[in-house]
Symmetry: C3
Subunit: 298 residues, 3 copies
């Protein structure tokens, strides 16, 4: 979450480290430019997401290219969901690799600008888009592989965890994790459920309470990512790995994936509205808005 | 599952490897002989299963000796269940070691011949026997130790996972796993539940989606087996390990085992009929039967 | 549990090892002295528990000093709960370290003297106190760190598992685990749930069935403790670790902790009375009382 990266002034303790990380990714600087917001338009799909679909292999690669750090804004999330839906409906598309075109970052997470100074209605729409992204990716019939070629905090980590397999760049300057608490906010239950399904109950309890960001080596050790390769090899390894997954008959694989994930998906699907209300009530609190505002002014 | 090993022609990708494995286990060759089916009779209990019960130690050893690869046919499953029930009712029998008398294989899994060209009624009866085997083993009051002295795909892996402890022969030519998807079929929810209870959610998700067969070393690493020993030592190690388990008062151990497994057992117990119907509907589909037939003709 | 350490004569197999462990902790010898019981009084809080609260750091240290082995008696449990409640209500107290002032033992577990020759009413009151301790610790809003500076069987292991983080003395003579079955008794479902949340389903199944006591190194390997340090460093490491946890905003950390633990806590909260009845029915059985009596006479 950019929210996670920017949000609350109450979060001094871990902030210095995070900020230095931010500036190293060029994010803080770029985000300050109002121009970025102005660039948004409903026709930006082709700008912010590039999808290469290789008909012969049945594999698509989704390049996230929303400068500077692939923040998950309402607009970007909408574009991602539309792109995913198109691929999902194309029966010839069996596999999807998700990666970043931005240097040093996979995705910095949710966009704070969709939470600050916005109407409750806007915040609700934003949160529905976050839910939609998760529901679509976690429940995708396609084989999904995250080519995590940079840092992946909060919502970026969530996105990678929705995939069937995670390959991360073996660069110790990158990190991955759900670091919400460090910023004074709480990962919702379905972020938590996704992490429990990935690394188990105990590792999740530690990770979420401490808002841990793991180095690639640590992430591999607890199972938050499945494989580390040199930075230059992330995408090619993802493509090679895909071959192994494509060898499995789709129908059987899809039913199996659904059997594993359906209970977790159903939990959010049955509670979307309450979850939206929770988020809106939290984010529109004066204290939280004030914190967001002070942070943005910095 | 022999079904898993033979079933669908749609499964070309992984099949070559599996077939070579089959021929090395002598299975494919032997199974082609119709004589095998003819050998079946209701009095074959003593032929296909040998139970050695040592009254002094309270430990029985069940040798599966159904050539060539201990396929779990309706007949064999029935024999296994009857043998298990007898031991279960004998209060002097506290522990059971399950092993194979066939070379190189523990059990190749469910028998395709009970699924091909059979009436829905037969298929239903067969599936009830698979359920019965699982219910009896997973819920056994005895200490159960699997002495996995050979390959153990699909139903063979399931059988070993129902036990309290798994010792496998440290021979890299052997493998173990639920490889159903590789053959275009899907492990039912209770196979999945058993694996989740054994290796956790994430490892199960990978294993089941990819239909992974693990080498003994890999199986040990993810916790699919508990111990590796030299091929010659599997049975003696099982007996030695049993001593440790026998040191625990039966009543406390049984209540503890039940506490751990009852929720999983109750799930199938409450859904046996629906699960049978699912299986019969799937297996009697023209497309599946055709695939089975073509494979058998090969 | 001292119960676990003393209880049933049916438990010969593992008992020798346990008894030698007991005598090494000075427990068996000291416990034989009836004087210990006589020392009990309702005003002993300050005697059996010493709480050092450092207002400047917001961290309290609870020293358990109930000779000889910090047995969890009704009285001691009550004192612990009162002390915890006071700290919980003090908003300036954000973290709690639990440790032992007794040599070689963290806590030996539940006190058999509260289960032997007592009225059903007394046993019920005792069990409610055990539940209360677990509910208060597992649901604490404070950061809780167990400084496990000695052996920690049964109830002692449970207490440490309720904490957010466990640091154990790296002394191979110490051990930790839920060893109830070895003594012919069964860990209740909420002991089991706590362990599953800590080390997963499979490790718990093995640990509980076999009543395993782990060496510090083994405990670290399965995740039963989080860190090993030299005996002299346990408490200082706990304090240093606390600093990392204090860096997280309380509100976010508390909500996250509750999200992880609430379902487990709710299970007992909704079934306290049935759980008390189960315990009382079991412990007041003639056969169990006889075993307890014979053991105490030894």
């Amino acid at each position: 979450m950019k929210m996670a990266l920017r949000a609350c002034l109450r979060t001094k303790p871990g902030l210095t480290g995070l900020l230095s990380q931010l500036s190293c990714s060029g994010h803080a600087a770029a985000r300050r430019a109002p121009a970025l917001v102005a660039q948004r338009s409903s026709s930006s799909t082709s700008q912010k997401i590039k999808v290469d679909f290789d008909q012969s292999s049945g594999v698509a690669v989704m390049h996230m290219q929303s400068p500077p750090v692939n923040s998950l804004s309402l607009e970007f999330l909408t574009d991602v969901c539309i792109a995913l839906e198109k691929l999902e409906m194309d029966k010839s598309c069996r596999g999807l690799v998700v990666t970043s075109s931005q240097p040093k970052v996979f995705s910095a997470g949710l966009d704070i600008l969709d939470m600050y100074g916005k109407s409750p209605e806007h915040c609700a729409e934003f949160w529905k888009a976050v839910q939609e992204m998760w529901l679509k990716f976690y429940g995708s019939n396609m084989i999904t592989i995250a080519a995590v070629n940079g840092s992946s905090p909060a919502g970026g980590c969530l996105l990678s965890m929705t995939c069937d397999y995670r390959i991360m760049a073996d660069n110790p300057r990158y990190s991955i994790g759900l670091n919400e608490t460090k910023l004074g906010i709480v990962a919702p239950f379905w972020f938590k459920d996704t992490m429990v399904n990935t690394v188990g109950h105990r590792a999740t309890e530690m990770a979420l309470q401490l808002g841990l960001l793991y180095s690639p080596a640590e992430a591999l050790k607890i199972g938050l990512v499945d494989q580390l390769v040199h930075e230059d090899q992330v995408l090619t390894t993802a493509t090679e790995t895909m071959t192994k997954w494509l060898a499995i008959p789709d129908h059987a694989r899809q039913l199996t994936k659904s059997m594993m994930r359906k209970p977790t998906i159903d939990k959010l699907a049955a509670n979307r509205e309450a979850d939206v209300n929770n988020f809106v009530n939290f984010i529109t609190k004066d204290s939280i808005q004030k914190s967001l505002g002070m942070y943005l002014e910095m």
